[in-house]
């Protein structure tokens, strides 16, 4: 039911873990099935220098978390904010319809982490 890309990111997830003293933290829960995802960011000159995730969820949740960290690492905050859950799902070669909500989790956690950073910078 999962694409090879999903399985690859599930088996070898990129950027797993937690950044110590992060510049931004985003933790979101999934209302649908009760899963949780946490993203920590290091930001320098408006650019995501480092990003790590931890996910309690299904294979799709782990894979989308991993994929989104890979997609936004090195990007500006504006570019990162433009990454949608659909784009993540597409980059993974698609997700089963019932698993689309898991990709929301990844995008939401990323957005929450960026917002957290911005609010700390008093830019919001």
């Amino acid at each position: 039911m999962y694409s090879e890309k999903v399985i690859d990111h599930f088996t070898n997830p990129r950027n797993v873990g937690e950044i110590e003293n992060p510049d931004g933290v985003g933790e979101v829960g999934n209302a649908q099935c009760g899963d949780i995802m946490r993203i920590t960011l290091d930001v320098e000159d408006n650019i995501i220098k480092d990003i790590k995730f931890k996910t309690f969820g299904c294979g799709a949740a782990v894979a989308t978390s991993s994929m989104i960290t890979e997609m936004v690492k090195g990007k500006t905050l504006e570019e990162a904010l433009e990454v949608s859950n659909k784009a993540v799902a597409e980059a993974l070669g698609g997700l089963p319809p019932i698993k689309m909500h898991c990709s929301n989790l990844a995008a939401d956690a990323l957005h929450a982490a960026i917002k957290d950073y911005l609010s700390k910078q008093n830019k919001v």
Partner: protein
């Protein structure tokens, strides 16, 4: 890669002896059992033999066996068929919170359509109380339905005691025995069972076949019309090869049950003990000892999610199942685990292994060696697992 199948409660492989016999009835003896000619008569005879084999395994008379397309149809025929036939006798129905959806959903449909439904709770081991059943009975109760053994946690229900109470109160008693057939002794007479649903593909028979035992004298209405097969209770040309295969599978199950259970109990307990010992923060779901099906293991592994466990196990060749919300089509966690008072979070990390005929001690050893590694990896990824500080 060696594949290890530990999902026998989902389905089983067809026994080669069964498959060989069935093949003949596809290609050689293909007649319609309702036909008068030689081709038909030949199949009819085998069909009646199968009926005897099925009846024997549950202590019934052959004439009390109605063949169906499987456990789900049997459950529906039992429940809806009883309700249609006893409409004027009352509107109250009793069941438990841990039934298979084939039972629960049939009852919930009736509850929406004018019937009164009592859904009884279970204790933390997943067992319904006889007293609760007894207290729930009203003058207008027409049917009690309780499963023999639960498909998820293997808990065995006090069927004989409930049967006695039902009979004393003149209420019909249906038992979903899909998971217990061939694993636990069943005697419909001494257990006072009026209706019993069973399925072929859980006991090394083919898929798409099952049966409903209907005690002589119990009136139910058919759901399917159009012929006079199966005493008019299940019209349509019989799935003869399937039924004949089911009969053979019942015969083999009866012969092998004792021997096989010895092995299953041993492997089951080895797997349970090993998991509890090797992995911290794990909880066994369901009862121990002989209150549990001989082939069922169900544990909750905290801070990890079931589907991730299943995927990881599948990658090393191990097939299991889970009650996690993420593995269910509805994104709801297992209703059985919730009914046992297990939290949504703990249900999330539930993992079921159901053992079978061809499993060996090496299979269990392999799981016990690999599962802790998988859990470590997933816990390191989990934001809920805090024991070791940021494990990068």
């Amino acid at each position: 890669m060696k594949r290890i199948y530990l999902d026998h409660s989902a389905t089983t492989p067809v026994d080669p002896e069964v498959a060989e016999l069935m093949m003949k009835y596809y290609v050689e003896y293909y007649g319609n059992p309702s036909s008068v000619h030689f081709f038909g008569r030949q199949v009819k005879k085998a069909l009646e033999e199968a009926r005897e084999q099925v009846a024997q395994l549950i202590g019934a008379q052959p004439s009390e066996i109605i063949f169906t397309s499987g456990g789900t149809e049997s459950d529906n025929l039992a429940i809806q068929g009883t309700v249609r036939a006893r409409n004027n006798k009352g509107k109250h129905l009793i069941t438990t919170a841990i039934e298979h959806h084939a039972v629960l959903d049939a009852f919930k449909y009736l509850a929406k359509n004018g019937y009164d439904l009592t859904i009884l709770p279970v204790d933390e081991e997943g067992i319904v109380s006889v007293e609760d059943v007894s207290k729930a009975i009203r003058p207008d109760t027409i049917l009690i339905s309780v499963m023999h053994a639960n498909n998820e946690v293997g808990s065995i229900q006090p069927i004989a005691e409930i049967g006695k109470i039902a009979r004393e109160n003149g209420v019909l008693f249906h038992v979903d025995a899909v998971q217990s057939l061939g694993k636990l002794p069943i005697d419909v007479v001494s257990m006072n069972i009026d209706l019993l649903s069973i399925s072929s593909h859980k006991i090394y028979g083919p898929k798409g076949v099952g049966a409903l035992y209907v005690r002589r004298g119990v009136k139910i209405s058919p759901l399917v019309f159009g012929g006079s097969q199966e005493r008019k209770l299940r019209s349509g040309t019989e799935n003869a090869p399937g039924i004949i295969g089911f009969g053979k599978a019942c015969e083999l199950a009866g012969l092998r049950m004792e021997e096989e259970n010895k092995k299953l109990y041993y492997l089951r307990d080895k797997l349970i003990d090993g998991i509890l010992k090797k992995i911290p923060q794990v909880k066994l779901n369901g009862p121990l000892g002989d209150k549990r099906l001989p082939n069922n293991v169900n544990v909750s592994i905290k801070y990890v999610e079931g589907e991730s466990l299943l995927l990881s196990l599948d990658m090393i060749g191990v097939a299991a199942s889970s009650g996690s919300a993420c593995t269910s089509g509805s994104l709801d966690p297992s209703h059985v685990l919730l009914a046992m008072g297990i939290s949504h979070e703990v249900a999330h990390g539930s993992l079921r292994f159901s053992l079978g005929r061809q499993n060996t001690e090496e299979d269990i050893d392999f799981v016990l060696q690999e599962l802790p590694k998988i859990v470590d990896r997933l816990r390191a990824m989990s934001p809920l697992y805090k024991s070791d500080a940021s494990s990068v």
